[in-house]
Symmetry: C3
Subunit: 669 residues, 3 copies
């Protein structure tokens, strides 16, 4: 049962916020009037303004022109539409690139990135740092008390399209950061293992960014550089946040990209924002994009500590920056939006309000498409506005989960480095497979770090915890001892925080919890599969990977029927303390995972609802009651037995038919 703190920072909006990015500077003033009229028609309550407006506000260095923005904010306020005011620092102006060419991003191969795009410069550039504080302060000073402004939106999608930089300025900052981190060169040389390949550093100034070199660069250096780059971006955010806070009291956010970027450690970032917000775009190549969406939403809620969050951007239909931009089918936008709400979002926002006629994203869908108000999209946008009003009661309610999946950005960064045993060890694929099993079983999951207090969960799943600190391994072991069920998949607990193989070998730090040793990785040839013999007699296939697994207390749940490890254990379970530790040494897909999870649920005392295929069911609980949100992604109607009132239709009953493609939001009685 979630905890409801008496107060939490939230923008001054009633109900669930609805709206999108609004870029009036792309349109003549007469269009603005139409915009606010149509926003009201659609039920829009909140718009993000100014995200890319630097050059039009600070027209030259230190010269400000707020007139057009004054007018826009007044107009919006006059129509009752609140504003999420952006700082435009994701795209410095042409004059900045021209005056500070040394701030331009240098890629790993020495290329300098120019202007003319969604520009970004080096996050370590002193000139940039100075400029962002100046523009953020100026905006905050002017609009701190503007009645339209209910929140602040710093920057845009930190890390995209520029995450790291290899300029000399950045190299210097990296050295400073390392000196702070390691204290001495001896410590750094030890941590990085510079004895390998003769990389010993005799002086700090010899260290550079991991730019292009004759072969692969030291993985510990690359991992630290990723940490540093994340840190530098966060410093930029904090500088802006603090500048705003000097003048203004509204909540401050920056829009994350949960599972769709991976550059920034959002667990760390979330500590520094008042409200967590997220951008999410369906992956067209994904045949079940609703599952990727659910991962994004659950992850966002988890980094937000279970508190309500904002869906800051998604799309009404197709996206033009994927190889194939699949348009959403009728009803799909509503299902997507309400799935985010089901998993804790209290705001549904789009990129963007009105489709741009010009520029790189003119084929990106919008709330008001090129085809105008006679279009299908516009009809669905206005209907969604009405629906969100109908379910305003959900605001502030929470989602509870008994299962957590480990999601550790740092481990993913490490796993993504070069020269692993095979080059397709894909943590996203593994997380998705385990998550999909739980999603299809109707089991709501949180995401967590291995260092978190896990005692609230009955089951913790580690699909891809390649990097595992000793203390975190002890935390997981304690979780098992105290009655939890831990499920670990292969290529976990391989290295420590410096990407060094754990003393004692692979998986050594989890040996107590799992009761097995991994002696050798046995990757399978691409395109081959091998049979798995389960103790219950079933045979399934798996692929990609086997291991030379030695039992050190665990029982065998399945063994390899063929492949390089033929005859040896494949899946094991060890009773340890009051709990159990499972280990899966091969690649099982969501289907094959049934063999593991049937038993896991049983021993953890969980009763998965196993809804009809394609039916997504999530509960939110709040001070005003509990809500079951049922979203039918399938092509057949499905029934759900939940006594209550469907807030969307005001229908009351004990069971509800969720029509194919439809949604029910049942206020439980």
């Amino acid at each position: 049962m979630p905890h409801f703190p008496p107060t939490q920072p939230w923008p001054a909006i009633t109900g669930l916020a609805y709206g999108g990015d609004y870029n009036p500077e792309q349109w003549p003033r007469e269009t603005w009037l139409e915009d606010v009229r149509l926003m009201r028609e659609a039920g829009v309550t909140l718009v993000s303004v100014g995200i890319f407006s630097w050059a039009l506000i600070e027209t030259d260095e230190g010269q400000f022109d707020f007139s057009w923005l004054d007018e826009v904010l007044d107009l919006l306020h006059g129509s009752g539409i609140a504003v999420d005011l952006g700082t435009p620092t994701a795209s410095p102006p042409a004059w900045f690139f021209h005056r500070y060419p040394e701030s331009r991003v240098t890629t790993a191969d020495g290329t300098r990135l120019g202007f003319g795009s969604r520009g970004m410069v080096s996050p370590s550039s002193p000139a940039y740092r100075e400029a962002i504080v100046r523009i953020a302060s100026a905006l905050a000073e002017r609009y701190a008390h503007h009645p339209a402004v209910v929140m602040w939106h710093v920057h845009n999608e930190y890390g995209a399209p520029v995450f790291d930089d290899h300029s000399e300025t950045t190299a210097q900052a990296f050295r400073d950061w390392l000196r702070e981190r390691y204290g001495s060169l001896d410590a750094l040389n030890a941590a990085w293992g510079t004895a390998f390949w003769g990389q010993h550093y005799g002086r700090w100034e010899y260290i550079s960014t991991p730019a292009v070199a004759p072969s692969v660069v030291n993985p510990a250096q690359k991992l630290d550089f990723h940490r540093f780059s994340d840190h530098q971006l966060r410093q930029c955010f904090l500088a802006e946040r603090d500048a705003i806070r000097q003048h203004a009291a509204q909540p401050i956010t920056t829009n994350f990209m949960a599972n769709q970027h991976g550059g920034c450690d959002l667990w760390e970032w979330a500590k520094h924002v008042d409200v967590v917000s997220d951008d999410h775009y369906l992956v067209a190549a994904d045949e079940h994009p609703e599952i990727g969406l659910a991962i994004a939403a659950d992850l966002t809620r988890s980094v937000a500590g279970g508190m309500p969050w904002m869906l800051m951007e998604h799309s009404t239909s197709g996206i033009n920056w994927q190889p194939t931009g699949i348009a959403k089918r009728p009803g799909e936008m509503a299902r997507n939006s309400l799935a985010h709400v089901a998993r804790g979002a209290d705001a549904v926002m789009f990129f963007q309000w009105r489709a741009s006629r010009r520029g790189a994203e003119k084929f990106h869908s919008a709330m008001l498409p090129h085809a105008g108000t006679t279009s299908r999209i516009w009809q669905e946008v206005t209907q969604l506005g009405a629906d969100l009003t109908a379910i305003a009661d959900l605001q502030g309610s929470r989602v509870k989960a008994d299962v957590a999946i480990l999601w550790d950005y740092e481990s993913f960064w490490a796993q993504d480095l070069e020269w692993r045993p095979v080059d397709d060890l894909d943590h996203n694929e593994r997380v998705r497979a385990f998550y999909e099993r739980l999603w299809r079983d109707g089991v709501t999951t949180d995401f967590a770090l291995p260092s978190h207090d896990l005692s609230r969960y009955r089951v913790v799943v580690a699909p891809a915890q390649y990097l595992l600190r000793q203390a975190d391994a002890e935390n997981l072991t304690r979780f098992v001892e105290q009655g939890g069920t831990l499920v670990v998949s292969y290529f976990s607990a391989v290295v420590d925080e410096h990407d060094a193989v754990s003393e004692g070998g692979f998986l050594a730090s989890l040996r107590t919890a799992l009761g097995v040793e991994v002696h050798e990785h046995l990757p399978l040839r691409r395109g081959t599969t091998a049979n798995l013999q389960w103790e219950n007699g079933t045979v399934t296939t798996s692929d990609h990977w086997q291991e030379d697994l030695r039992l050190r207390g665990a029982d065998v749940v399945a063994h390899y029927a063929d492949g390089p490890a033929a005859g040896a254990p494949a899946v094991t379970r060890q009773a340890h303390g009051s709990g159990a530790g499972w280990y899966i040494s091969t690649r099982l897909d969501a289907e094959a995972l049934t063999h593991v999870f049937d038993q896991v649920y049983a021993e953890a005392g969980l009763s998965p609802t196993r809804p009809p295929r394609g039916l997504e069911v999530v509960r939110r609980e709040g001070p005003r009651g509990s809500y079951t949100i049922a979203i039918n992604h399938a092509e057949n109607d499905a029934d759900i037995a939940t006594p209550g009132t469907d807030l969307l239709t005001q229908e009351t009953g004990r069971t509800f038919c969720v029509p194919a493609g439809g949604v029910r939001i049942i206020h439980e009685t």
Copy 2:
């Protein structure tokens, strides 16, 4: 019926010219004597000389050595072989690269391109401009009155291998060109939509070339840069042309690459040459390369305004710069050559006379191959020389077409920019599909711009007119009103000349002509197809694309049986004025297009001959009569009913058998 102007510039050669590039500098003087002897044996009448000879003529800056060239020209003239004298400016000498390193090409990522290849430097370089005028003037002055020289060949294949440049010199020239084009920064900012992603320019000097940036660069900027780069190359050509004209009176050409490069807007270039010439190479990966060849030839004739043109380069057999260099089969070289003639070429030239022993193209076939005069190729080369003499009568005759396909380089440039709804919107594929339908139906086509006077055509086809100016849309609408049949395929009329989505949405500018609205693009997933239900009951499949199409006056010809637009219109026809506007909102291949074109031909009063598969039939008409050229690309003999005399065999009859792989050229009686 073509119009025959009393005079047109044409080199002083009798009959159809025959020959190729001749590079004597690669061979010792004794070989030259053998060359001219064998040229006479092969029937060669014209050779292109000096294309890559800069360093051997201007041995150092301003120092000229014409002695070897004098000798070569005298020798050729003495043997009755005319010369197309090249300016060698496509490959500046080593000394130029060394003296003017700042003239070297800079790629979008900042790489400087060096010497040692088919070198080219920045077309905007002042040093290069000065140097090309000097060498062109020197050549023209010396050889203006040499009796061998019947024409001038400026440069070689403008745009290959270097089309654009990102040096600071070019950036400055780009700014000048933009200032001229837009007059004010306000106009430029509006046209480019710089409000998007914060790209506003406050000063001219902030603008650069669209070099590499963190994400995609402003599409309007890239489109203008393409226009500018084309313009700069043309300025180079004009400088040389004018320098030659100061001294010499012979016709001046430069060799185009019709549909095989796409960099230069040949409609514009053709205005400035005296004679249009083209290079064409079969695409080995194409299973029916004869259709690609026909497109090239028809396009070349079209940019030449219907006037005779020269095939300046093609190959006797295999090419070594494609992944797989397929050798031509016996008879194929003659079929290729005569297909060009059929479509208006009055010259058949090859790259090159004698196969090079050294360098990058030594595995490229030639008229005189490494295997020498006992080879199959040499036999066919001499036979072709004889055949061209036999059909000399065709010289000056013309080709007439009732159908035009829109071929708009500028639209193609725009369509090829990034972040379209899907990344495989291929205009070449669409043009080919429609062209192939017409080719297989025996319907000869011209190519045209949407701004052209189209009244001479009964049918105009727009397979891929993504960019359409408002005035051009009005021209097309007028064409329909006045009785024409317009056939438009999907993703047409999407943007204006600045790559901005047309006001009113996709296809809005053609709504009057077509009677439909496009509300949304509905791309299909890769590899999937969908059924199309034609009003006549037939079902066919299509792929790649569907649209949310709304009828605004048009009738449905086919609708979608499945896919995201299931049930909605797919192909429509609207009667408008005295004509009709067809719209096809999905990807139909040449076969499926039969369903459209059967009706199109009927309503346009065209009677397609539908020759046996693989038989290509084209007519030329001239003051000395009409000629039917029949080329059999198939493996079976085919008959053709055309009373007359086959000029190749002097056979006379009313019907002729065109043997498998053979050609008939019938002077009609």
Copy 3:
């Protein structure tokens, strides 16, 4: 029967050397004690030390610290383990990169490669040359008389990961090398064919390295640059070798990469080392990697002139720098090791002794894996140590071959240049196909250059001799005249040493020996095959290539049943002098080659043993007797009839069963 010279340089080790790279600097001192204890347990007799230790020995320019190395060498010597002492010049220290930034490698596109990897700098850098002599001299001076040091190991894998460099320093060195090679610019212009594409050089200083240019760079220039780059690396080696020799008398080697790198001309390099050594890694993607291994071993033995050689590196199991790192199966490491021994290796060494916990190769297998001494790998490592002791008697014995395959690095370099008739003319594939035929027939082969004295062989095979000097063609012709059988595959004898097509056309220089002319290359479309009709009535398929082949004395053995050359000769044989010349103008796989080699063996008087599939049988002969090594790669047991004693089991008999996966080493009686 091999010749046994009375003395040859060989490190002072008894029996077959066993061990690996040992990098104690990666571990604390206490681990060193465990290391030597376990080395003794495993039977290790030799370790390579110091390969990557530059920064820890020369801590700053000219400042040396030998203390740790003293200690390591003493410790090893105290345990009776000999040392192969490395010079650490493959990876210059951080201080070197920092002090001499102009020594960094510049790639063809101008990128400068930095530090942090397996660093290497420009082999032409004067600062680097000076530094390597200093460190090599210092090491030699100090350890010349250390009793542990039995040999010197210069650098590591010359050419990987850096082979060439495009800095201005290198460009200057290239010009000097060219001036030396050609004497005059006229000679260079002629050899490079600079008349093509206007590349004439008027001054030496205009010449640069073949860096990135607008199109492909002159192939003769690229070929010479490859020769030059090989030469520069060799100069580095010679400088170190001579510096060591000033002080020390032990044999000097550097580890080659036989058929797995291709950058260096090992025929030339082998002249300058005292002992040939080789690194070999199984290619995971290869379904029969034992054949690639055998090529490596035979090639290494051949460049060593038939003398014993050292396997300096291979792996105990999986490798982490290939896309999929396949672990070795039980017994496979021993089969690999003993296959090298069978083909002449007198040392079996691994990379590396103890698996690294840190750095880029921590997932690379080792003698002592992360799983420690309870692991399968360790058990097999100690067993192999015992086995090598059991067969110590083989030391110094030799391998004899009646067949040679031409392996000409220079020809491969030339063939790999751009713009060949097709882009997949793969010499490795052709060599492998012919080698596999011989391997499966139980015929042991040497490799040779076409310039070698070939009189000791009965059959010489040229699977891919694209570049063939006139004198070498004459050598091959003489070989045939004097009774040899020469088998030549397509795309051979195409160019001379300057990559110029031979005068007289393709294959002209071998016309006397083969009795055919190649008029034209007729590549097949990708994915298509064509039938071949053999004179004995059989029909097989071939692919990739056909030729327009004209008989000039040869007899037809097979002709094309279809494809572009249908009806024409495909495989020919000409009796010439006392021998025969075969020509194969299409791609035959190892299976189809049976049709050729059945007859070749018969006419050459060879009796191939044709062992059961997967059984590898090789003989070594020495002063102490003859040895048959039988290695069973198959999954079924196989018998071998060789009277004698199996040295591994001391079993005696007349026939032996070689168990599936097992090895027999029979001292013949």
